[in-house]
Symmetry: C2
Subunit: 211 residues, 2 copies
């Protein structure tokens, strides 16, 4: 998933151990199609049947609150797939659906049975955070030239496809309109429910069998 989700956390007990994890849940019960002439995603029927739920446990887990709060927490190793039989531990999603990533902060004593293939426990000592501006639509091929340009211009691994110099015009405005691309980080505060919903921006993810 590019760009990767990145967060900062405050309000943890420095000496308490925590797991941090991410899962990705459907935004609604719909399947979408992209209408080129209006540049919009439109409902195209009901969602496909549910897929096995998966959890990405941040590889630094478990770690102390002090450790988590000292660094920017990046989920750049999280992988997506549309293969329901995946055995690589990747998060399984349907293509052409809308999804919401969620960050989970789990006190160690509540997360010792945490597993990539089991739902995240709930209750005291477990908090979930959703940032509405990170909602995205899954695809296997980009539907929109602006998204392709953003991907190419922002991802170091796509440098080989960059337009050298010309055609740069309009990029800044484009970045502005997709909130997730802004360099700012969201900050989670463990004791509060964060994030007054802002205007949702769709972020499109794709990769091969990975969506």
């Amino acid at each position: 998933m590019f760009p990767a989700m990145r967060v900062k956390i405050s309000g943890l007990d420095p000496h308490q151990q925590y797991y941090i994890a991410m899962d990705i849940v459907p935004v609604d019960n719909k399947r979408y199609r992209y209408v080129y002439h209006s540049s919009k995603w439109m409902v195209a029927g009901n969602a496909d049947s549910p897929v096995p739920p998966r959890v990405y446990i941040h590889p630094d887990s478990p770690a102390s609150g002090e450790t988590w709060m000292r660094q920017v927490i990046s989920f750049d190793k999280l992988k997506l797939t549309n293969n329901e039989l995946d055995d690589q531990g990747h998060i399984i999603l349907h293509s052409m659906h809308k999804y919401q990533p969620r960050v989970h902060v789990i006190r160690k004593d509540c997360g010792d049975d945490l597993s990539p293939v089991k739902p995240i426990p709930s209750g005291e000592g477990v908090k979930a955070f959703s940032f509405p501006e990170t909602v995205f639509t899954t695809v296997t091929a980009y539907q929109n030239q602006q998204i392709t340009r953003l991907k190419i211009d922002r991802n170091p691994f796509a440098k080989g496809f960059r337009d050298s110099g010309r055609n740069r015009m309009g990029l800044e405005a484009l970045v502005e309109s997709y909130a997730f691309w802004r360099p700012s980080l969201r900050t989670l505060t463990f004791e509060d429910i964060p994030g007054i919903p802002k205007q949702g921006n769709n972020l499109i993810c794709k990769r091969n069998k990975l969506i």
Copy 2:
């Protein structure tokens, strides 16, 4: 350092947390030179003045005894240098000296002030293990064509220098004579002092400013 040190550990308390670390200590107070016609390392004076001691803390630290015992513990990220002013946290050694790597198993409560630039604490809850067959001589350029061949034939990153096919004769015997290259792992048992000294084999390490 190639080949990397790899160990298995048994006898830990599965539910206890441990740090695992490595340091590298001088074998003697001598400096060496390689005598080509006799294919031997000879004493060439007294050792250079001591360098700042450094510790490599295994990146999986701290972890439970269960975790440590389940896996082969590899030190393949450990780096050496001959630069006494190094600021990358590498282990500092003199070239043309003999060294002994040591593996340290440190109960978490005894290692919370562990640092790459501080000596390893000693006492109850800390055990050190040395394997005499891993003694090596530091160089900045190989002194011996057999060593060069071993390095090239065994290291995936040196594939570009391999002799395709011919000249393979004699490699197996060469591997045999350098104990450290054998695929076997040494097993540490936490409660025992391991390793009846075997015939020492010199393993030669080099890399640029890294020795």
